[in-house]
């Protein structure tokens, strides 16, 4: 009847806190046994009346430290929950949970009562919100126990079909027939328990529902939490989250914008199994550096089937291309597409049609592994043309931007390079064992210990690169020739035509200092006009995009500032305020000309940019990148900002800012279901260390012994907004750092009466085929919407995606005007019915 994990009770090695907590769990006669001596009884205890003891399975022995062993991975399974909805074991990620295997036979009397006893015991745990009890039963056997719903909020019943359940039992239970055995011998069967930790590892099995079994199981549950160290402690279950949610929901009653809809994270249902993986510098051997800036993701219809596909960039283990199958489902086609780059530390991705053949090609940046350019053959299979294209720069690259700076009809390329933040020493990535993933031999360059002093050390500067597209898939480095010599710590850039002369200018974000702005002089050179046009910019800029937030026909500019939030701890009550900057000027080096937080530059129509971020409510905490889109279909562009730093900082919410008719932005992430995250998670297991042996000197071993699982806050880095399931509304997908993405599917199409929109795809002829650089104006009645087709889909990302115009109440469009990069202006006469895709081909 004893579990397969260790000697049953190990009071001697528990911490005082652990002993106290364990004492509170004790039930029945065991209390005396434990309180008396703390030693294991020499003879088995008899089971209480009504309990049938099943034949026990062989058990492993605990290690010398008395730790719970790791018995393997809990296999993924799917089934049907008691409410009839589909269920996947992935929903239990981040929870310590107990799998209760219900036998295919009448259960012994009192078993359900014992289960209720277990549930009640778990409900009393301090960590009860992080525990689940899941009873798994065979789908085709309605006669097996009907478990009352009154088992508490932690409990869930899941039906799994016969064969998958049999395999699951075989893989998980040392004796798959445990429980059934007694029945086969003429007695009643018992339920058998398996303990799974928050990292998805089986930590104990074959517990039964006797008093002693329940004691042992609850003790072991506690031990999984004893192993946990949250860095910082408030990363797990932050107390302010519920208060923030309540306050926002209350405030939303006065919102004057449509918000009666929401998002649900449907990653599990989507089939997407990508997980972002990181180097040890951002995890187990944390050192403040630029690896923690994460990765981008980009979308494009790579196989031209009418559905936009997803390309996730990974730091470790290879990037992944997920083909959109429709109806919100995706499949991994990375191997077929040949775009993994598993031998490199990835950073960013950009899709663009470099050869004007009508399909999206792909550029990927890396950390010193060589950037890669892939040519698409039109079916979603790619060829690596990095070397022949002369774009295979190897350095500390970051964002990449395609734009046609010389307007010759071929897309050119700007590559942002951060600066030298690594040494020449290569190290092995060791972060994977906790997740049970194959341990690859991935190497990375160790970061310098003072990475964020890079802007103070000119010798570490790394020039950004500008490549001119010569045609024939060959590029030429024209950085010097075009005067775009810039050595700021640049992570990304955005094209924009600030002065409306038809030539795309370039705004470069500087993550440690002042941003730079280069004006395009008729495609012949770039002229630096940074301080002249933008006297003050954010000090720690991460992401930039221009869009017309107030529908006045000109383009405004939004910039997120991450590094300014580093100067001191920012409490949850200060997130909407600018940073109270504590870095000395000797470090800032911007002569007082910095904004310490996000900046929103409103264009006055004459190209003058006035900073109005606080007036608009555009501030947030620890932002990375953002994406824009008309989330609620009211004709105003909304903003989704990824946020949160992960280890070793507290959790930060992703921000969803609804645009209140161009007057201000309304915090709506809780209102629209983006927060809290699925399952209420704010932190996950980050890495594991063994403080008794190899990791004894690790920082996280201070005051700890044995196995320590370090948890850290979740956080997103980049995002895309697009109509993932082709239902007419805009969905959001993120690339999170060291975890799975969010696949936030909107139900706006079902909830908003008469959702009306227009999708536009451009086909340039004289201009580049993709139409990047075009300006599109859509008119309906007295309303006009203006968008620049810049491809900027988010931080570290550029996508080949459709343009989406929310039309609010307009059921048709009167005219659609395109100003092409070639200089031509083309008007498509209406009426154009709403909810259609318009393909505009450039007239000769």
């Amino acid at each position: 009847m004893r579990s397969e994990r260790s000697t049953p009770i190990r009071v001697a090695h528990l911490s005082p806190w652990g002993v106290g907590r364990f004492a509170r769990w004790l039930v029945g006669p065991s209390l005396m046994w434990l309180a008396g001596c703390g030693e294991q009884p020499t003879t088995p205890k008899s089971s209480p009346p009504g309990t049938t003891t099943a034949k026990t399975s062989p058990r492993l022995t605990a290690d010398s430290e008395g730790r719970l062993p790791v018995l393997g991975r809990m296999p993924e399974f799917v089934g049907t929950a008691s409410d009839g909805k589909a269920f996947s074991s992935l929903e239990l990620d981040g929870f310590t949970w107990i799998a209760c295997f219900v036998p295919n036979a009448p259960v012994a009397a009192g078993q359900v009562g014992r289960l209720a006893q277990l549930s009640a015991t778990l409900e009393r745990l301090p960590e009860r919100r992080e525990v689940r009890l899941v009873c798994i039963r065979e789908e085709a056997r309605p006669s097996v126990p009907r478990i009352p719903i009154a088992l508490g909020s932690l409990w869930q019943s899941v039906s799994v079909s016969d064969e998958p359940l049999r395999r699951l039992r075989e893989q998980v239970l040392a004796s798959p027939s445990a429980g059934d055995a007694a029945h086969s011998q003429g007695g009643a069967a018992t339920m058998t328990m398996v303990l799974v930790d928050a990292a998805g590892r089986v930590r104990g099995r074959n517990y039964d529902l006797t008093n002693e079994g329940i004691e042992t199981l609850t003790h072991d549950v506690g031990q999984t939490f004893d192993e946990r160290k949250s860095v910082p402690p408030e990363a797990v279950n932050p107390t302010w989250l519920a208060e923030r949610q309540a306050a926002q929901l209350s405030a939303a009653r006065d919102y004057g914008v449509f918000h009666d809809f929401g998002f649900v994270d449907r990653r599990i249902e989507s089939g997407i199994r990508f997980r972002n993986k990181i180097v040890d510098d951002a995890g187990k051997h944390y050192e403040a550096g630029h690896y923690d800036h994460g990765n981008g993701l980009a979308i494009a219809d790579v196989d031209l089937d009418g559905r936009e596909d997803l390309y996730f960039v990974n730091q470790v283990g290879g990037n992944e291309l997920w083909r959109n199958l429709g109806e919100g489902r995706f499949e991994n086609v990375t191997a077929r597409a040949r775009v993994s780059l598993a031998d490199r530390i990835g950073v960013a991705a950009s899709f663009a049609d470099i050869d004007n053949d009508g399909d999206p090609d792909l550029y990927v940046t890396t950390v010193r592994g060589g950037n890669a350019l892939f040519e698409n053959d039109g079916t979603g299979r790619f060829s690596d043309i990095s070397e022949s294209s002369q774009t295979n720069y190897a350095g500390h690259s970051s964002g990449a931007v395609f734009f046609d700076f010389d307007r010759d009809g071929k897309l050119d390329l700007f590559v942002a390079n951060v600066g030298r933040y690594t040494t020449d020493e290569q190290k092995l990535v060791t972060m994977e064992p906790l997740r049970g993933e194959p341990q690859g031999s991935y190497m990375y360059y160790d970061g310098v210990k003072d990475a964020f002093a890079g802007h103070l050390k000119p010798e570490r500067a790394e020039q950004n690169r500008l490549y001119r597209n010569l045609g024939g898939n060959v590029f030429e480095d024209v950085t010097q020739a075009m005067g775009l010599v810039d050595e700021s710590w640049c992570g990304d850039a955005s094209p924009l035509d600030r002065n409306s002369d038809g030539w795309p200018d370039l705004y470069l974000v500087n993550m440690q200092g002042q941003d730079e702005y280069y004006e395009n002089d008729r495609g012949e050179r770039f002229i630096r006009r940074s301080r002249e046009v933008f006297p003050r910019t954010p000090w720690g800029s991460m992401c930039v995009k221009s869009f017309d937030y107030d529908n006045d026909g000109d383009f405004d500019l939004f910039i997120t500032d991450m590094h300014s939030d580093m100067s001191e701890p920012v409490g949850p009550d200060r997130e909407k305020l600018k940073s109270d900057m504590k870095f000395p000027e000797s470090f800032l080096k911007t002569e007082g000309n910095s904004i310490f937080g996000n900046a929103f530059f409103r264009n006055d129509g004459d190209g003058n940019m006035n900073e109005v971020s606080d007036e608009l409510g555009a501030e947030n905490y620890w932002p990375w990148g953002f994406s824009t889109g008309d989330i609620n279909g009211d004709g105003f562009e909304d903003v989704f900002i990824t946020a949160s730093m992960n280890l070793p900082f507290r959790y930060g919410v992703n921000s969803l800012l609804l645009n209140d008719h161009g007057r201000r932005f309304l915090d709506s992430e809780f209102v629209l279901g983006v927060e809290p995250r699925r399952g209420g998670r704010t932190a996950i297991p980050w890495y594991e260390i063994d403080c008794a042996t190899v990791d004894a000197g690790h920082l996280d071993c201070e005051g700890r012994g044995g196995r320590v699982v370090v948890w850290a806050a979740l956080g997103s880095r980049s995002s895309v907004i697009f109509d993932l399931d082709l239902d007419g509304d805009l969905d959001i997908v993120t690339n999170d750092f060291n975890s799975e993405p969010l696949v936030l599917v909107s139900d706006l199409a079902e909830r908003r009466p008469k959702l009306q929109y227009l999708k536009v795809r451009l086909e340039g002829t004289s201009s580049n085929r993709q139409g990047l650089g075009a300006v599109i104006r859509v008119k309906a009645g007295d309303r006009t919407w203006t968008k620049a087709h810049d491809g900027k889909s988010g931080y570290l990302s550029q996508s080949a995606q459709l343009l989406y115009f929310g039309l609010d109440e307009a059921s048709q469009v009167d005219t659609l005007e395109v100003r092409w990069p070639s200089g031509k202006t083309q008007t498509v006469a209406g009426p154009i019915e709403a909810n259609t895709l318009v393909i505009v081909r450039e007239e000769p």
């Binding site: 860095v231 944390y286 003072d450 964020f452 002093a453 050390k457 870095f583 000797s586």
Partner: protein, 120 residues
């Protein structure tokens, strides 16, 4: 003061009041200063970026490898005041915070002699 492996090492100039001479004292915190002088704390680092802060004086400075930063202030009256230190954008490290002991010259000299004798 030099940040080194998440601790501060303090180099006191010794009786000759000059750094880089034979009578310098290499010590650990607390930081001792004579009262009512114009103090100059020269900040270095051997590895990470560190921050050094005197909350009482509303002063904060950084220490960066291969670079020198200086914090200047009047040490004021005899007292014990806290200083705060941290690793830039990293974990909190209690060992990087400590006390600044400001004392009258005779006491300071006495402390120097004792420090030379004991190495602490």
């Amino acid at each position: 003061m030099t940040g080194d492996a998440l601790h501060w090492r303090i180099c006191d100039p010794g009786p000759d009041r000059k750094l880089g001479t034979d009578d310098d004292l290499n010590l650990s915190p607390p930081l001792h200063l004579p009262s009512n002088i114009q103090a100059r704390i020269i900040l270095h680092s051997r590895d990470y970026i560190y921050t050094f802060e005197l909350p009482e004086q509303h002063l904060k400075e950084i220490a960066v490898p291969e670079q020198t930063y200086v914090m200047e202030f009047n040490s004021g009256r005899p007292r014990v005041a806290a200083f705060r230190g941290d690793q830039f954008c990293g974990y909190s490290h209690h060992a990087l915070s400590g006390n600044m002991v400001v004392e009258k010259w005779p006491d300071y000299r006495r402390w120097q002699r004792e420090a030379r004798r004991t190495g602490r």
